[in-house]
Symmetry: C2
Subunit: 330 residues, 2 copies
């Protein structure tokens, strides 16, 4: 029998508890995946000074340590590093990543919860909830009727885990779904997919535009003032990606002018958003505090299920899924 | 060829335009239902003094006139009266209804829109949007995470058009669905149905309680202070029925104490709700202005499609659907 793979789970005390992996969650995941679990020996170690000896022996690490610049020298046996978030934009440039180490992200951990958030976002914006909320605050009972969502159109920018969830939610509501990605390669969740170069031509046709793309050099401010002006009058925008993909000040101006019908932002810059930000009071804008995609009860379980599925590939010397491509930046 | 059935469409200028049937909508409905349409001759007449001569000749009437007490004397040929709302609680007692006249309501016109509203309500309450909305108003960025809805439980009180819509929306979100109606007779939209006598035993098990019952003597305040106290700690309540089925003051107190997690009311008493009502500022309560179930673009089209389907039954001397039973009060 070969030696067990030494796995280190980095516990970051600063993170919200939902992102931390407990011993009980690890054991439960091993019980769900008994065959690969027999081939690993895992430890959970708090990030900080105690991490160094564990890192020195680790072959696989779950969670990027705060001092990631020390991985090259301090983790000589490391072959696989898993990031427990989907976005790696906070870790670029990836020059700290030791050569030859497979780096995977947590794509797939957010789809189910994101799908629920998107159902909420489409229905709230269609129902003109931002205005109804403002009326409630002003203690003003004023009927605002709305059509059904069936037959309306959603344009999804980015078709990864989140974008597919946004497409599924739109389909369930009877909307037509157009997607945009780098290549234009089709996905079953969308009625049509176009390469990102076609974005300008697609924006005027969409009732809902959803931003679900990783933040990279290519997507920074992909929706800027010019492209907001391409959107259909009264259309709505939803951002569940990263704040950097959108010019939020230009969005705010378009909402204040009534040019757009409404927007929902789960990501803002900076987070926490300071009290002084004018975004808080932008009309027809709903801000949620970066909670759209993370299941408060199941996040770590889902993360470990994804990791174990990849572990089977790792142990069989097959290519890992959700490997980050340093050139693409996601 | 028999004489055409004389149909009178009562146009009530005081109503919101979405409820009024235009000549164009009537013509379009006739085009969708050409066979029965050939057998009727319809007029649209404004409610008021001009109505009397039209009523005197009408055999079928769409829309209850304001002076419904004059129907007995003034509409001697009337055989079928159709109400363009689902609820007849505003028209009881039905002693004004001429003997022998079939009285139908608009059940079926609200399901599709209600289903969207319920998807919004479940996801908003689960996502703790009332708290997030309050935080936004206070310009406070504070993360509030939430679990998925899958596996949570919905209890639907009333299983007509609205209740079935509430059940479908819950199912689509992966929830388990228990229904309550008078008889306990099963409907395919719910996993289980119980007679209303079992309500006390069912309330403690539900994460979401949805009120979707007609307002009758039997359902007035069906959810009162005592039954609110039976609900699970942290559970949520949604009312899309009529304000009278709920003790809103007791709900408000339960929300203020944190005993319940949240609520969404589309119906309040009175409507419009006055500025002085304490409901406006009840924590974790969202008030929508009686807009949950009426499609702003298709309401009259749906109404006419339902009416034409019943017209085929009427012309064939078959029993009409959605006939109001004066004894039940709906």
């Amino acid at each position: 029998m070969p030696a067990r793979l030494r796995v280190l789970i980095v516990d970051s005390p600063g993170k919200h508890p939902l992102y931390r992996i407990t011993r009980e969650q690890w054991r439960a995941a091993c019980a769900r995946h008994p065959a690969p679990a027999r081939r690993v020996a895992a430890r959970i170690v708090r990030d900080g000074p105690a991490l160094a000896p564990a890192l020195a022996r680790a072959e696989a690490v779950i969670g990027v340590p705060a001092r990631r610049d020390e991985l090259c020298a301090g983790a000589p046996r490391l072959r696989w590093l898993h990031h427990t978030s989907a976005g790696v934009d906070g870790l670029v440039p990836l020059d700290w990543l030791p050569r030859g180490v497979a780096f995977t992200n947590n794509s797939g951990a957010h789809g189910a919860k994101a799908e629920e958030y998107l159902r909420m976002a489409y229905t709230m914006l269609n129902c003109r909830m931002p205005r109804i909320i403002a009326d409630q605050h002003a203690r003003r009972w004023r009927q605002v009727f709305s059509p059904g969502l069936a037959g309306q159109s959603a344009l999804i920018v980015g078709l990864g885990d989140l974008g597919k969830a946004a497409a599924r939610a739109a389909r369930e509501l009877g909307m037509t779904v157009t997607g945009v990605n780098r290549s234009g390669r089709r996905v079953p969740e969308a009625d049509a997919v176009h390469p990102v170069a076609r974005l300008d031509a697609l924006l005027p046709r969409a009732d809902y535009v959803v931003l679900a793309t990783p933040l990279t050099a290519a997507t920074r401010r992909i929706i800027d003032r010019r492209r907001l002006a391409h959107m259909k009058r009264g259309a709505c925008l939803i951002n569940i990606a990263r704040a950097g993909v959108l010019d939020a000040a230009a969005l705010s101006a378009a909402l204040a002018r009534g040019r757009l019908g409404g927007a929902m932002l789960d990501v803002v810059e900076p987070e926490p958003l300071p009290r002084s930000s004018p975004l808080w009071r932008t009309p027809n804008l709903v801000i949620t505090p970066h909670v759209s995609c993370d299941d408060s009860e199941r996040y770590s379980d889902i993360t470990l299920d994804l990791w174990f599925a990849n572990l089977e590939r790792f142990l069989a010397d097959r290519a890992l899924k959700h490997r980050v491509d340093p050139r693409k930046g996601y």
